[in-house]
Symmetry: C2
Subunit: 205 residues, 2 copies
DNA sequence: TAGATTGTTAATCGATTAACAATC
DNA sequence: TAGATTGTTAATCGATTAACAATC
């Protein structure tokens, strides 16, 4: 164990472990090993053990890891021992789909508001939400102390929307717009662009 | 230059460069440097030069890279000098959103068919598509020689659908189901799971 | 020419793997 | 106890960065 700085690449694997553990847990399985887990997620057993051991000794020699215990630890490490309020910015098709997505609730996130700047969309209902005006976004974010946002605006609007989010105090942005966005160092961004992901694979075809 | 095996991590950055170049090109810009490009995408200039130089000498000392020329080269490397037919499997909210997404066409992908196994959805119209029965999927994939699929089924159906895709000859799967899927070595998978991506960031909050 | 920027080398830094003592 | 599996070390492997000669 060592609580120095943990590489980002390790942090990136923890949610994958957690997801697999949740799945095993749903199947009523109580215990797993680095070997088992590795086969499920496609990562070597040695790496899984090394990753987990960065945070403590959560396993037992001979028997492996208690799934509920390891999940609790991983959740706590990832700050998933609470529910995070999230906003969705941009009510196009993807924004709609995410507003309806029921996979957030039981995995630690709660969509609390959705925004758009199109007068035709503002005030309309999407799923359980009324679409709010982007003009009021900074205020609303500050009011609710929102730290996490999902960006589903067109590429042309992405940087402008990002700047608003940053100004309001958002520290984590999941960006569905197909463009790189610039943020201060203390703001994290993750990119979801179907085309970019597809292009990563066509090289090998 | 060296045409040995190129690391996957480099291949993964090329689509990001390409996307940024497209954007510069749309703005009428003809030339860029590793410095410029690096600032846009948040990657060091040295790394960009090194990545690009794996494939040839595409720049000019003193002036940098011709954007049209570099784009052409990157497209060719990524096999984006053609249009790839893609199918979407699973017509839930995300499948719907992707079926309507107009960002595929001008970036090298063409959605050719969409599938679902729900009798209520089969035969219905989604965007420009008629929803086809998953039961006919293997046959249709073989017939059209489809190599690329987008998987937007529920987690519980993901492995089964994957097995069908693999059996039919699909070699690249963009998986939106929140679960790790197992495929043979010669099949590539990219994962898109909003929750996993969000959890990668909450650690830092 | 002078200035700018590439492509590439060598050095550094970081991540992964293999192996095994410890121990449940 | 015997078998299994962890946590950790050392070795290997790979990626990034800094620096600069080459050259446009």
């Amino acid at each position: 164990m060592a609580t120095e700085k943990i590489p980002d690449i390790i942090i990136g694997r923890l949610p994958i472990y957690l997801r697999a553990l949740q799945r095993l847990s749903d199947q009523g399985i109580q215990t797993t090993s680095s070997q088992d887990l590795g086969e499920i997620v496609g990562i070597s057993a040695a790496q899984i053990r090394k990753d987990i051991s960065q945070f403590g000794e959560f396993g037992k020699q001979g028997t492996g890891y208690s799934i509920p215990y390891l999940m609790e630890k991983l959740r706590s490490i990832l700050k998933m021992d609470r529910v995070w309020d999230v906003i969705i910015v941009g009510m196009g098709d993807i924004g709609h789909a995410l507003a309806h997505y029921n996979g957030f609730a039981n995995r630690g996130f709660h969509v609390s508001m959705v925004f758009d700047n199109d007068p035709k969309k503002i005030g309309q209902t999407v799923g359980d939400f009324r679409v709010l005006d982007t003009a009021s976004m900074i205020e609303k974010i500050k009011q609710h102390k929102i730290k996490v946002a999902v960006l589903t605006v067109p590429a042309t609007a992405a940087q402008e929307a990002t700047d608003l989010l940053v100004k309001a105090g958002v520290k984590a942005i999941l960006n569905y717009a197909p463009i790189s966005i610039n943020v201060p160092e203390d703001v994290k961004v993750q990119y979801v662009d179907p085309v970019t992901h597809l292009q990563r694979m066509t090289y090998y075809l």
